[in-house]
């Protein structure tokens, strides 16, 4: 650790110099070196570091060891990024961020938490050489119960979902532009299966999972709500406790809905009628075969239909003036064509939601401070513990459960769920949160959704709501350099300085923000 601590300032100074040479606008905040945050943390102090990697999560939490207060204990929470619909989500900084993390920790990680298997949470583990040729030491690895391959049911479910996503991806890869919302669907699927976009540097979800499960010398623990979390002894000694709030235990109803989903999109998967096999991801070069249900001799033109057949599509005066060249059958055709391709979007969304809801939600308590890491949990995951429901419930009471009120009412830190999307931080949760905590949102604007249709991520009103209660900092508001020494611009409307939290300080680094508490 001492070695790492020595190494660390050097790398940062270097980065800072580069920034200075390339941009005329230096970071508004004092650098970490300048304000002396490099000094080891005091006993009872902790630091949460959010790296700016783009649309993805990569957090490092650090506390001093109990035995030797100058020795730091580190927890990595997720490491991934994805390009999203626009392709702008991956800003190409993850390798540098991981290098920084290894320099900081010396590769000695007390705990790695993988919240769920989306690319924007795990791709870094296979993309970055520091992990692939890992020379450090890992104390423990936590994963959601959905990664437990020893459970045949879960394993089958995950394999099916992966096969479904891969096959859909393969079918759509070439045709994305011909299908409505094709790019969005493709981006969701890409995030699920972890096929890295060209030019951004390798890795795959499968390789990351393999590394985390078998390549780091420690067997992962699989948790769901209520599981007793087993922290490594060093962390326990240091005074850290952890509680698992999500995901809900896997139950039958959650299994069922996906198994049938595959059948719903069968036509996109395999036109040879052989969707029973496993993966048919053939590199995205398979074109959909058109199946003609009848002989060609049955083919006629719309003019062969009686005029009465299209009476429903006649121009209606209340629609406004009739456009010249209005043809009834064309309107019918358009309506039928437009009604169709919902299948893909539905399937991709379901896979996306399933994976997000598998997120491990962890509440750390350290020195009386409560720190909530919510992964990408969405409504189904949240409400399970928000409302003390024994299962996902259809009739929640409007009153939060005791545990939820207690946790949210005394929060010191919140990792904003799912990069700031509305689905991932319920209103009830925001309302129950006390004022004065620090919220960190690792995101990249203009990656998914759009402001125009109120589906932007991060969702502006949600972020505003959270910001009104907390000192909120977004990763895309940190100026950062890529490996090619280019400055990645900050998000539109970035405030000139970091907010001042009620407790502790926020400090900007070359590719991260630290919260010292």
């Amino acid at each position: 650790m001492r070695k790492a601590a020595k190494k660390s300032p050097r790398s940062r100074t270097k980065a800072k110099t580069k920034t200075k040479t390339k941009t005329s606008k230096p970071p508004a905040e004092p650098s970490t070196t300048a304000n002396g945050s490099e000094a080891p943390l005091q006993t009872g102090q902790l630091r949460i570091r959010m790296y700016r990697v783009g649309f993805g999560d990569f957090f490092l939490m650090t506390i001093p060891s109990a035995k030797d207060p100058s020795h730091m204990l580190h927890i990595v929470i997720d490491c991934g990024v994805t390009g999203g619909t626009t392709g702008k989500g991956d800003i190409g900084t993850i390798k540098e961020a991981v290098a920084d993390m290894v320099a900081e920790t010396g590769g000695e990680l007390a705990l790695i938490i993988m919240t769920h298997r989306h690319m924007d949470h795990i791709i870094g583990f296979s993309r970055c050489p520091e992990f692939q040729d890992f020379k450090g030491k890992v104390g423990a690895i936590w994963m959601p119960v959905w990664e437990n391959e020893a459970d045949a049911g879960i394993s089958k479910f995950q394999n099916e979902m992966f096969a479904l996503a891969s096959e859909l991806h393969a079918s759509l890869a070439l045709a994305a532009d011909t299908v409505p919302d094709g790019r969005t669907i493709l981006a969701m699927l890409q995030n699920a299966i972890g096929v890295a976009g060209a030019g951004r540097g390798g890795g795959s979800n499968a390789a990351s999972l393999a590394l985390l499960k078998n390549g780091l010398g420690v067997r992962p623990s699989y948790y769901c709500k209520g599981s007793p979390a087993e922290l490594p002894q060093s962390l326990v000694d240091a005074g850290l406790t952890a509680e698992i709030l999500g995901p809900p235990p896997a139950d039958a109803s959650q299994f069922m809905s996906l198994m049938d989903l595959r059948k719903g999109v069968g036509q996109y998967l395999d036109t040879a009628g052989n969707a029973g096999g496993g993966s048919s991801a053939s590199g995205g070069n398979k074109q959909r075969e058109h199946v003609l249900p009848f002989r060609k001799s049955w083919k006629v033109t719309p003019q062969d239909y009686p005029k009465d057949a299209f009476e429903e599509w006649e121009h209606r005066p209340l629609e406004g003036p009739k456009k010249p060249g209005y043809v009834e059958w064309k309107h019918l055709k358009q309506a039928v064509d437009a009604a169709q391709p919902a299948a893909l979007m539905s399937a991709a969304k379901k896979v996306d939601n399933h994976l997000n809801n598998q997120s491990l939600v962890v509440l750390f308590t350290y020195g009386g401070k409560k720190l909530l890491f919510a992964g990408d949990a969405q409504a189904g995951n949240w409400e399970y513990w928000l409302y003390d429901a024994p299962e996902r419930t259809t009739t929640p009471s409007d009153k939060l459960g005791k545990q939820a009120s207690n946790v949210l009412g005394h929060l010191d830190f919140y990792k904003v769920g799912h990069h700031g999307s509305t689905n991932a931080t319920p209103i009830a949760a925001v309302n129950a949160m006390n004022a004065g905590f620090v919220a960190m949102c690792s995101t990249q604007a203009d990656t998914f959704g759009s402001v125009k249709n109120q589906g932007e991520v991060p969702r502006i009103p949600l972020i505003a709501s959270l910001a009104s209660k907390s000192a909120l900092v977004r990763s895309d508001q940190i100026p950062v350099q890529t490996g090619a020494h280019e400055i990645v611009p900050v998000a539109h409307g970035t405030p000139p300085s970091l907010p001042r939290p009620k407790a502790g300080t926020l400090v900007r680094g070359p590719c991260y923000v630290d919260y010292l508490l």
Partner: protein, 740 residues
């Protein structure tokens, strides 16, 4: 009534006829209705339909329908026929009442056995190739065979082609698209007829929302008047009702067969959803319900989409019990226990029947069927869409009538519309089988007391026939109850609990004496599945039924109930104005529990003509009244978006008797009572409201509902969009994964 008379025609003795010359009377004489009786002529008179163009000039007059109606189907006048014609000797033939068409009773995978290739006698309608219904006096249907996958239009069938007429419709064939068109037309028409019989009125398709005190007249862009049916719209194991495509899209797909022994499809064969009787009925039901209650496709809680799916399955499953041959076969193979999943095979297996087994070998231990006849089959009556289910790799039907075992936790867990809907389906069929067993218990008792056994032997034909008759009759009654109950639901935000209350109320309203305990069977079956009404105070029949307004609500003046032939535009306008005025009267608005600051709209009003148990005709009107306001997802932050929060009241209004019959009660001295002869009031008294079934916007109930809807929107990710259509159920998406 003469030989051509239709049993539904009404004999009216005291009328003026304008067609005296037709009957051979002097044209100048205004002929009294009684006169023909003296002259020895019996008239059967048929009232013209209200929307017939030329009929508007004939309002209040009658038309002779026995022979040569003065107005033909297309509304053009024909010459009055001569006297000879009126005596039934014309060479012109009467318009047929029904048109026979062939269809699959289930789907092609069942082959020809047990009446799977059946005749449907659907009502005769004049058709253009498609088939396209040309009679537009009511909402109609049109089959348009456009294939969006291949951008191809298939040749439309002309059902009036004499080749087809001669054979009673095209023979079933998977390779001829014209048969597919015929089957879709026939099954949809039959389903519509069933709904109309149960509801006591003609159905209509979805209408757009008409807001404000004076909604614009005319066809709105989102109205549906002709439901389009697309038998091969897409390459997809899916079929769905799409209001935007103004119709039903049926898909076709290649079968997935993992194990040929478990599926009657060839691997890769094309399966057509439009050839599944169940799927057609299911999708038609969606369209019919959407026409009856347009806000039931607006997602406000988990029960709303599930109700749509559940009811569509219920309607499809009850149709199974109309197929007598299958019913008789199933009765024989289950010993009358129709709810069993497996049917007894033709031949029993025996463990010692094994060809030359080597002693001690594993083969010697093998038991089970050797030939097909020894294999047990699944009960087709309780399974939905067998071919579709098998072809999509399920190795069974798509869904089942009794898919879930009774428990009270599923209702809190299941959120997917089909899974949740299956709880409703199971509850209804639980009640159905209870009543079936209760109604046939005496038959079984008689059979057993005569030495009959139910353990595997054949039942006597007479008993099987009686059982089949009972099952079919009860199925029809249950179907009617389930459909009529929709009229007794509030216009918005339906829940399963509301539906139970509606069922009990509808049953009570129409059949106050419940000899076999139908209402109790429903209540117990729902209770076992954790479905309990939110607002009822006790779980007793009288508490579950919606309460009658107490004190009675003020009667509604100025309503015109019309008659079974429909309302004219003028009558519709009059009723719309009367209802809007009534509902927006501040006093009534308060009594009905509406918000006093919001305008009350009238989305629909329908006169209903139903038959009482004593055979008399009963006329009611069902009216929807609604209010709406925008509610914020987050009360403190408008920027997080809003949703439409609606309240509404369903009124069931009885048609009053002409003249004030109440005055005939015994407390009026006999000499002051009006005589019957004097009972010729100029207009009907105001109509009494029998039921006002409400969902309020305010108060505790309103707050709870708003909170529930907010939470639902959040759970379903409906906050993240500005698309106003996102609250509408998208059946294409809902059906994704489930198929239909």
């Amino acid at each position: 009534m003469n030989s051509n008379g239709d049993s539904r025609s009404i004999l009216i003795p005291n009328i003026h006829l304008q067609y005296g010359s037709v009957l051979g009377f002097p044209p100048s004489a205004a002929v009294q209705g009684e006169s023909p009786f003296y002259r020895g002529t019996v008239l059967v008179l048929r009232k013209p339909l209200s929307l017939l163009t030329t009929v508007s000039t004939m309002k209040g007059k009658t038309e002779m329908a026995a022979k040569n109606s003065a107005v033909n189907q297309r509304g053009t006048k024909t010459k009055p026929s001569n006297r000879k014609a009126s005596h039934g000797s014309s060479d012109k033939l009467e318009t047929p009442v029904t048109r026979p068409l062939k269809a699959y009773a289930f789907d092609p995978s069942r082959g020809k056995v047990l009446g799977n290739e059946m005749y449907l006698k659907v009502r005769y309608q004049k058709l253009a190739p498609g088939p396209v219904v040309l009679d537009r006096r009511y909402d109609s249907i049109a089959v348009v065979d456009y294939d969006g996958e291949n951008n191809v239009w298939y040749k439309p069938v002309n059902l009036d082609d004499w080749h087809i007429l001669m054979s009673g419709g095209l023979d079933p064939s998977e390779s001829d698209p014209r048969f597919h068109q015929q089957m879709v037309y026939a099954v949809v028409t039959e389903t519509i007829q069933h709904f109309e019989t149960a509801l006591g009125r003609r159905i209509n398709w979805r209408r757009a929302e008409r807001d404000g005190p004076k909604p614009r007249r005319g066809k709105y862009p989102d109205d549906i008047y002709t439901l389009n049916l697309y038998p091969h719209a897409m390459y997809s194991p899916n079929a769905f009702y799409s209001p935007k495509a103004r119709g039903i899209l049926f898909g076709y797909f290649k079968a997935v067969v993992n194990d040929p022994s478990l599926s009657r499809n060839l691997p890769g064969q094309i399966v057509y959803t439009c050839l599944s009787h169940d799927i057609i009925v299911h999708e038609t039901t969606h369209a019919v319900i959407d026409g009856m209650r347009k806000f039931f496709t607006e997602q406000t809680n988990f029960d709303v989409p599930a109700f749509h799916e559940g009811l569509a399955d219920i309607v499809a499953l009850f149709r199974h019990f109309a197929h007598k041959e299958v019913l008789l076969d199933t009765i024989q193979r289950t010993g009358g226990a129709l709810y069993k999943y497996q049917l007894r095979p033709d031949a029993a297996t025996s463990p010692d029947d094994w060809y030359a087994p080597d002693p001690g070998s594993k083969e010697a231990e093998r038991e089970g069927p050797t030939i097909t006849a020894e294999m047990s089959m699944r009960n087709p009556l309780v399974e939905l869409a067998q071919q579709f289910g098998e072809a999509s790799g399920r190795n069974r039907g798509l869904r089942s009538a009794l898919g879930t075992k009774p428990n009270s936790s599923d209702i809190r867990k299941f959120t997917e519309p089909h899974h949740r809907g299956s709880i409703l389906v199971a509850a209804i069929f639980d009640a159905f089988f209870s009543i079936y067993l209760r109604s046939t218990a005496d038959l079984f008792r008689i059979y057993r007391s005569g030495g009959g056994r139910l353990d595997g032997g054949d039942l006597p034909d007479a008993l099987a026939n009686r059982l089949a008759g009972e099952a079919a009759r009860i199925a029809e009654r249950f179907f009617q109850v389930c459909v009529r109950a929709i009229d007794y639901c509030s216009p918005v935000d339906i829940t399963f609990g509301d539906y139970l209350r509606a069922i009990v109320t509808a049953e009570y309203d129409l059949r106050p004496t419940d000899e076999v305990g139908v209402r109790d069977a429903f209540m117990q079956a729902f209770r076992l599945r954790g479905i309990v009404p939110e607002s009822a105070s006790f779980f007793s029949e009288s508490a579950i039924a919606w309460p009658r307004p107490d004190p009675p609500l003020p009667p509604v003046p100025g309503l015109d109930f019309g008659d079974p032939n429909g309302l004219t535009n003028a009558q519709k306008d009059q009723n719309g104005d009367a209802l809007r005025a009534y509902a927006n009267n501040p006093k009534n608005r308060k009594l009905l529990g509406f918000d006093r600051n919001l305008y009350v709209t009238v989305p629909s009003f329908h006169p209903m003509f139903r038959i009482n148990p004593d055979g008399s005709l009963r006329t009611d009107m069902v009216v929807e009244l609604t209010q709406k306001r925008e509610a914020l997802f987050d009360k403190k932050r408008a920027s997080l978006g809003s949703f439409r929060f609606r309240g509404g009241v369903t009124l069931i209004i009885s048609k009053p008797l002409a003249g004030d019959v109440a005055r005939l009660s015994t407390d009026i001295p006999p000499d002051e009572r009006p005589t019957r002869a004097g009972n010729n009031a100029q207009e009907y008294p105001p109509a009494e409201i029998r039921y006002a079934i409400s969902k309020h916007l305010h108060g505790t109930e309103g707050k709870c509902r708003e909170e529930r809807q907010r939470h639902y929107g959040e759970q379903m990710g409906l906050m993240e969009s500005s698309d106003p259509d996102r609250f509408q159920i998208n059946f294409a998406m809902v059906h994704e994964g489930e198929g239909v």
